[in-house]
């Protein structure tokens, strides 16, 4: 390194180090140490943590709750992501068009984004209440029997998924709205002259042009489906019988209710692996299919 390069280096690190120290302390270090601790036992009382090799991972494979929660989370992701993205695109197209009362509609779509998930979970819980809740009242008007949406293992997870879609679609709409505004109007005019229908235009022009946004939003949606568990705390506590529990909620329970931190670390390693797979997938996809010709 020459003297100028060295000076620049020192300057750069003077600016960088405060942020980097915190970033490493609360993201990189804990991620690395999680892996390390997953090979140890949980220290209890006077017994210190000792190296146990793959024992925690053997427990993991034999743990039926883990598998339930993992399958739940995958289903949760598979259901929330396409539905919220589909709704978000529809929302964006509507809000971007010359719609009557557009500003109200936009506000209605976006409002869930600024409300705390933990707070709206309370409201949704009342919707789902058997008998008195709004959903059952509407169903009752059509002669359906009342149903315990959150108490039935068949419906609990889906009930939670509905809330997640409601919460996220408006947020994703924003990204599509931004992308739509970059599509030149000349394209639409040209298509109109050619006599292309609206659906045809969407399928062949708009949707492909939105592909980079869709990839970006998908990655965000996947991360969120493993990160947002607030509503579980209020609505179901993961129940009944873990039917609506998600991976991060299970990690929370393991670490802070059962105080089995070593096993919680092992579960976190699984979560990290999933997220890294997503990142690698995004990286591989990025150059190939996303960019339109």
């Amino acid at each position: 390194m020459g003297p100028t390069a060295k000076r620049t280096w020192i300057h750069a690190w003077l600016f960088l180090s405060p942020a980097m120290i915190l970033l490493i302390a609360f993201t990189h270090y804990p991620a690395a140490v999680t892996l390390f601790h997953s090979f140890f036992s949980t220290p209890r009382g006077k017994r210190e943590a000792k190296f146990v090799g793959l024992e925690n991972y053997e427990t993991l494979i034999a743990d039926s709750t883990f598998w339930t929660v993992l399958v739940n989370n995958l289903w949760y992701a598979l259901a929330t992501i396409p539905l919220s993205i589909g709704i978000a695109i529809a929302m964006a197209l509507w809000v971007d068009s010359k719609l009557k009362g557009r500003s109200f509609v936009r506000m209605a779509y976006f409002t869930p984004t600024v409300l705390p998930l933990i707070a709206v979970a309370n409201i949704w819980m009342f919707f789902y209440t058997p008998g008195f809740g709004l959903i059952d009242q509407i169903r009752g008007a059509f002669g359906f029997a009342q149903q315990n949406w959150l108490g039935d293992p068949e419906s609990a997870l889906n009930a939670v998924i509905v809330v997640a879609i409601w919460k996220e679609a408006g947020f994703f709409m924003i990204f599509y709205l931004a992308a739509l505004q970059t599509i030149p109007t000349s394209l639409r005019e040209a298509a109109a002259i050619e006599g292309a229908g609206r659906w045809y235009f969407f399928r062949r022009v708009t949707f492909p042009l939105l592909m980079p946004t869709t990839l970006f939003v998908s990655v965000n949606a996947i991360i969120n489906s493993f990160r947002l568990v607030d509503h579980i705390f209020i609505m179901t506590e993961g129940g009944p019988d873990n039917a609506s529990s998600l991976l991060l909620f299970y990690i929370y329970e393991t670490a802070f209710r059962f105080w089995d931190t070593a096993y919680a670390s092992t579960l976190t390693v699984v979560l990290l692996l999933i997220l890294f797979t997503v990142a690698i997938g995004q990286f591989l996809l990025l150059d190939k299919r996303v960019h339109y010709r």
Partner: protein, 276 residues
């Protein structure tokens, strides 16, 4: 022919307007319902008659049943300290990434971007251990500290700083200004819209954050409103819907009102933050 086409077009449009409005009403329903329940006596929680008397009693009951004033103070302290921390740290780091050519810059930047994927939110076990080691458990600082160096903030500001023509800071350098002066006098003022956008996104995110604050706090003096609300809604099971809904509206109130007033800015800010 042209009349038929015009008619078809209108039909299309009416259909899509109806669908858009129907969806908007469904999306707004929880909020409308919450407002209805919170402002009416309990017996009207599930009965929708227009003559139902209005009341503020649910809010009074909720306010008196739990130390919400303290929770609000905690949230405001939390959100402000995070915002200040983020602005300072991310500005400095973003400037280094945007304006210095140094060895290893790209590698370090990838490390920063990694945080977009692995957020502190999921590293609860180890971050709790760290906070205990630092003796910070149950402090407002502990809630905010993991979020202050934000990968998203650094990325966003770096993108903005990179659009600022280098001639501007070369000119300032000629006049003898140091890097820090250039940053404060040239870069920060030009990036104001980005700061506003990032600020709104950050405040609404951390006002609403729940899991980490739940884990790291265990007293009234530190709990933010989200955690306070969950404690309130789960411990007092005798409390009725109307009061819980009032509390729910109260906790989201300031943010909601700000959003309704500055709707356009909010949407544009999220958009600006999203495009980058």
């Amino acid at each position: 022919m042209s009349a038929a086409r015009a008619f078809r077009f209108d039909y299309d449009r009416a259909l899509s307007t109806t669908a858009a409005w129907a969806l908007a009403l469904v999306w707004f329903a929880p909020l409308i319902y919450a407002v209805w329940t919170a402002f009416h006596p309990t017996e009207f929680s599930t009965r929708f008659v227009l003559t139902a008397p209005l009341t503020l009693e649910n809010f009074a009951a909720a306010w008196n049943a739990a130390p919400f004033a303290r929770y609000f103070l905690n949230t405001v302290l939390l959100v402000t300290s995070i915002l200040i921390g983020q602005f300072v740290l991310c500005t400095l780091a973003a400037f280094a990434f945007a304006r210095f050519e140094f060895r290893g810059r790209d590698t370090v930047f990838v490390l920063v971007l990694l945080q977009l994927l692995v957020m502190p939110d999921i590293l609860i076990v180890e971050n709790y251990r760290t906070m205990r080691f630092l003796g910070l458990v149950d402090t407002i600082l502990a809630i905010g500290l993991p979020y202050m160096a934000s990968g998203f903030g650094i990325f966003l500001l770096r993108q903005t700083f990179k659009t600022i023509p280098k001639e501007l800071d070369d000119a300032a350098r000629v006049e003898g200004a140091g890097f820090f002066t250039i940053l404060m006098k040239v870069y920060v003022p030009l990036a104001k819209p980005t700061y506003l956008a990032y600020g709104l996104v950050s405040v609404s995110h951390h006002w609403n954050n729940f899991l980490w604050p739940l884990i790291i706090t265990n007293s009234v003096e530190t709990r933010p409103v989200t955690v306070g609300l969950s404690v309130f809604a789960s411990t007092d099971q005798g409390i009725d819907w109307a009061v819980i809904t009032a509390a729910t509206l109260m906790t989201s109130g300031p943010l909601l009102i700000a959003f309704l007033l500055f709707q356009r800015q909010f949407v544009q800010s999220f958009m600006r933050a999203g495009i980058k």
